[in-house]
């Protein structure tokens, strides 16, 4: 089935200017410029900059080849492996950056990411773009990547805020429980604040998009020769998709933390929250 969004602009014939190895070497000159600044100002960043540049090249080339292979082979098993690796890495990244943690936090963030990102990806590929089957790698992998990149930040911020609140404002929560509040009544304010915290970067990004920032995906599409209006349509879908995935991810992780740190006897198990030694 032809993707609906793409079909709408058949008139725009893309003119893709090919990038070869020579052009990429020229681009490396830009990194040399940054290195020169570091040397002149004695920033001592040359080594780290070199490593970072090499990593950029290697990681992106690697993923480029993997994606090409996955798209060509069109195997559901290979796709499943790629998706699982993406989800696991994202869950690890989301759970790693918080100041406080609890046992099982990685699993919780994995569940929240899987539920929110797969649901949103399905809604976009199946219902909005109209891809058949909905998990066609060429659509699913990049969309999932964009969703995960954003919702992991939201989940991470939400987790951090929630755990910090439950630890620092433990007395306030226990006071409410001691006066007869249910666990939900005592937890809903910290939960609300945490979900809000997780959503802020996405809402900020949505408010300034196109004015302050031109999103990478859209810029990439335009550079690759796509009609700007088509690129914009895709970008709108992407922004809404990210907003939905982040909101769902934050709500899911909030509920999972709630289930883990409040028990059926309406007690706050604050001793389960541990602080990381950085």
């Amino acid at each position: 089935m032809m993707p609906a969004l793409a079909a709408a602009t058949d008139a725009a014939v893309p003119t893709i200017l090919p990038l070869g190895a020579f052009e990429l070497v020229l681009a490396a000159g830009l990194v040399l410029l940054a290195g020169l600044v570091s040397v002149l100002l004695r920033l001592g960043l040359e080594r780290r900059l070199t490593i970072a540049a090499l990593r950029t090249v290697l990681q992106l080339l690697l993923i480029g080849y993997i994606l090409r292979y996955v798209f060509e082979l069109d195997s559901i098993w290979l796709l499943a492996i790629v998706v699982m690796v993406m989800l696991a890495v994202a869950a690890h990244a989301a759970a790693r950056r918080t100041e406080a943690y609890f046992d099982g936090m990685m699993t919780a963030s994995l569940i929240a990411l899987v539920a929110s990102s797969l649901l949103t990806t399905w809604m976009v590929t199946r219902l909005i773009i109209g891809v058949e089957p909905w998990y066609q790698p060429q659509y699913m992998v990049p969309l999932l990547g964009m969703i995960l990149g954003n919702s992991l930040t939201g989940i991470s911020l939400c987790l951090d805020q929630l755990l910090t609140t439950l630890k620092d404002r433990r007395h306030e929560i226990e006071m409410e429980l001691a006066l007869g509040a249910t666990r939900w009544e005592a937890a809903r304010r910290p939960l609300r604040e945490a979900v809000r915290r997780g959503m802020i970067p996405t809402i900020n990004a949505m408010s300034v998009v196109g004015i302050v920032s031109l999103p990478g995906m859209m810029t990439g599409q335009i550079l690759a020769g796509a009609d700007p209006l088509l690129a914009v349509k895709y970008q709108i879908v992407v922004m809404f998709m990210i907003a939905a995935a982040t909101a769902l991810g934050c709500i899911f992780i909030g509920l999972l933390v709630y289930a883990r740190l409040f028990n059926a006897r309406h007690q706050l198990r604050a001793e389960r929250i541990q602080t990381r030694q950085f």
């Binding site: 007395h171 006066l179 007869g180 001793e271």
Partner: protein, 224 residues
Amino acid sequence: MFEIRDLDVATPADPATPLIRKLSLTVKAGEIVLLHGPSGCGKTTLLRILAGLIDPMDGQVRLDGEDGDSIGWPRFRRQVVLVQQRPVLLEGTVERNLAAPFAYKSADRPYSADAARSLLDRLGLPGGCHAQPARTLSEGEQQRVCLIRAILLQPRILLLDEPTSALDERIAGELDNLLSEWVATHPSAVLMVRHDVALARAVCTRAIDLTPHHVARQTVEAQR
């Protein structure tokens, strides 16, 4: 009737070391029971267990034969209210703090502004105080707001952890009078931990020494 049976008390941080072993105690309406003992003997932890905020290692806590598992913990805690030593108030005015627990699902009566004002007045927090931001009050004033918030709920058992720690002697005396009157006119009882044991004995109907080797002996005496 509030019953404590064979309670073993330990902190969640160190659940392997019991601070209090096999505590049994029955408290009837009208009583004011003083719990005392050296610091670190588990008084605060005991009160938190009685309120169901943490679990005991062993033993039961029942109100009229029912525990939190049978009637639901929020409802149990509405009847057995704990006022912790450090005053904890929410953002907002004194009145908002006093009224907040009446918005919980477990609330069984509406908030009475008149009752609140008369209690504020009585504990030296006169007119106009109810509209003040609660967190701008002094520690002693905040402690009184917390006490009033608990009394307004008219619990069957009031658990007080060092209720007079930030109060001057006159206000502390007024609180003692208030508690005596309250248990005399309501089907309620008070269990409190106090550092000023001598003063507290004047208002208490009974004193329980929680020094480790005392607990077992008193339990035996009580059972005779």
